[in-house]
Amino acid sequence: MSSKKASIATYLVFIVLGIAFFIMARNFPPTSGLYVSGPSFYPELLSAVMVLAGVVGIAVTLKAKDTTIELANLHRVFYTFGIIVIWVILWQYTGKFYLISFVGSGVMLWLLNGEPASKKKLGKTLLINCIIIGAFFLVFRVLLKVNL
């Protein structure tokens, strides 16, 4: 991936965010106190700096040399992030942290272990998973009594 294109796209996102934050800040209620700056004063200032830095950043990037960003194994990032999102959704809706974590952690271990599928791999995954979840349960639930 071209670092120049990615940087410019990100700067543009920051400029849009800066403008959006500025517009939102304009709707904050005004202050009535003498010399007391209103709630919008500081965010407006930050928005202006954000937009300005974005514009200057684009100008500087356009002059800079382009390089390639190495993104190896991106598919793994996508499915790991997918597992994380589903993990949190299920945890939120069931309220069973350790049960959902057992499933989520197990799926992660299975998918991220590059070995071919076999009974040995399944056994190893289950064993490691039981140790991980057991250790967290022991420390946070039993010893520290943290409610999750």
């Binding site: 940087s7 709630p39 194994n73 994380i84 939120q92 952690s105 967290f136 520290l144 999750l148």
Partner: protein
């Protein structure tokens, strides 16, 4: 500091925190890819149920242990465990491959411990006078100090300056979410009650340092077993060998502590600077990179010196010197203690407890390191895919357990995804987190200064202390410009 009640420090809870923190730190430091910040983010939820002193001791003992732990992987397998241990690899690996891994680890452990002690001594001696000065400062000066902290992260970072600026502005922006303390108005809460208290710092830390690291880890080789030769790993150097490197250790420990004080520098640059200084001042510079013990001692003393150094601005000014210290700062905030000059007056015993506790942790690290280093080296056979769910679960617990809101977990997940992308294009996570930590200080000082100055910006230019701080800011900006010009011309 000597009128401290030592019986408080020597309680079972505190000693256990030091012991566990040191061991966990060495372990997490030894595992390539993880480091003190990830380890601290993982242990942060454990501190919620603890008293303030053991909570802080746990994290700083971890920090100290992780800086030494990073050298284990560097020396034994030639893969740096932490950023601060990259320079250690240059001479550590050749000495280990020459049949002396135990000696290389012995040099590293001795240098780390003495470097750490130098950091603690300077922490004990510099924090008091700095706090006395800081307590006399008013809002305009505090704003400028906050800006110097933020600028140093921008100026000293290796990346693109505008990306660092944007990382900082984003961090400051995130800090504006919630109730405005001056007017009571809600800002950027989008009608959500959960956001009226602002975005959780712990959620951000869990996302940035733990979950983001998970996403980075899965890009690498997850099934790699670092095959280690676990023979001759007993860490030992003779008295004569120690005497030969003593000045290198002392000088590098001092360098590390000074680098630790400046926010944004930290262990990586400190260890390189110490290594280069030692090599340049050596009578045999050609022996560096071939297993010279001075090349191991210099970076190791420096990266451990950073730990004490990074605590100095936190206690005296409320500004964390590194990402890991930002996590220590958030642990204090969760305990209802706001780091800064006032903490020296309101929680004197806690501050002294941190001083002496860090000293004990550093000494404990030496003895624990002597007995457990070979164990951590053996741990390197653990493949990375096993670490992924462990770090994920720790991050979830960290984000959720503080307030019990799922929105914090979602913030952690979102922060991880956003910064995973931003880090690929050179945006700075440490700059963002430092700005987020300093956001309330910067806004509060800025707006209060304007109130004091009756709306006029002249208040920032009419006070003598401000002149000195402006001069410091100017020097930093000029040196940043010169450094970048030099780098551009050399390219």
């Amino acid at each position: 500091m000597f009128n401290f009640d030592f019986s408080q420090l020597l309680s079972i809870n505190n000693l256990f925190a030091i012991l566990f923190g040191s061991l966990f730190g060495m372990m997490i430091g030894a595992l390539p890819g993880l480091g003190a910040a990830v380890g601290a983010a993982m242990l942060l939820p454990i501190t919620y149920t603890m008293e303030p002193l053991p909570a802080v001791l746990l994290l700083i003992a971890l920090y100290q242990g992780a800086e030494y732990g990073g050298s284990i992987a560097s020396i034994v397998i030639g893969v740096p465990g932490t950023g601060g241990a990259v320079a250690t690899m240059l001479d550590g690996t050749p000495l280990a491959k020459g049949g002396y891994p135990g000696k290389a680890l012995g040099y590293s452990l001795t240098a780390s411990s003495i470097g750490g002690i130098i950091g603690v001594v300077l922490l004990m001696t510099l924090t008091g006078p700095l706090t006395k000065v800081a307590i006399k400062l008013s809002d305009p000066e505090m704003l400028l100090i906050g800006l110097i902290g933020l600028l140093s992260v921008t100026a000293l970072g290796s990346g693109d300056v505008w990306k660092s600026v944007l990382s900082i502005v984003l961090g400051l922006f995130m800090g504006t979410v919630g109730i405005d303390v001056f007017t009571g108005s809600k800002r950027y809460t989008f009608g959500s009650l959960y956001l009226t208290d602002g975005i959780s710092l712990v959620a951000m830390l869990a996302g940035l340092f733990a979950l983001c690291e998970v996403l980075s880890m899965v890009m690498g080789n997850l099934n790699q077993h670092y095959v280690t030769d676990t023979k001759n790993l007993k860490t030992r150097i003779s008295w004569k060998e120690f005497l030969d490197v003593k000045w290198t250790i002392l000088r590098s420990g001092l360098i590390g502590t000074i680098f630790g004080i400046v926010p944004g520098l930290g262990a990586g640059p400190a260890s390189w600077f110490a290594y280069t200084t030692t090599k340049n001042s050596s009578k045999q510079p050609e022996s560096f990179g071939k297993g010279n013990p001075h090349g191991i001692c210099a970076p190791e003393a420096a990266n451990n010196g950073c730990v004490g150094g990074a605590l100095i601005p936190l206690i005296s000014l409320g500004i964390p010197g590194s990402s890991t210290i930002a996590i220590v700062s958030s642990a204090l905030v969760m305990q209802g203690i706001n780091p800064g000059p006032q903490v020296m007056q309101t929680n004197t015993q806690l501050v002294y407890g941190i001083y002496w506790g860090l000293l004990i942790a550093t000494i404990a690290m030496y003895f624990l390191g002597k007995f457990t280093t070979s164990l951590w080296a053996r741990l390197l056979v653990c493949p990375n895919y096993v670490l992924v769910p462990i770090v994920t679960i720790a991050a979830f617990i960290g984000a959720y357990a503080v307030r019990g809101f799922f929105i914090d977990v979602w913030f952690a997940v979102a922060a991880a995804a956003i910064f995973f992308i931003l880090k690929r294009i050179d945006f700075s996570a440490p700059a963002f987190i430092l700005a987020f930590v300093l956001a309330s200080l910067v806004e509060r000082s800025f707006r209060r200064s304007l109130m004091l100055g009756r709306g006029s910006f002249l208040i920032f230019f009419t006070r003598p202390a401000c002149w000195i701080l402006w001069a410091l800011l100017a020097v930093m900006i000029v040196s940043m410009i010169l450094r970048r010009r030099k780098a551009r011309s050399s390219r």
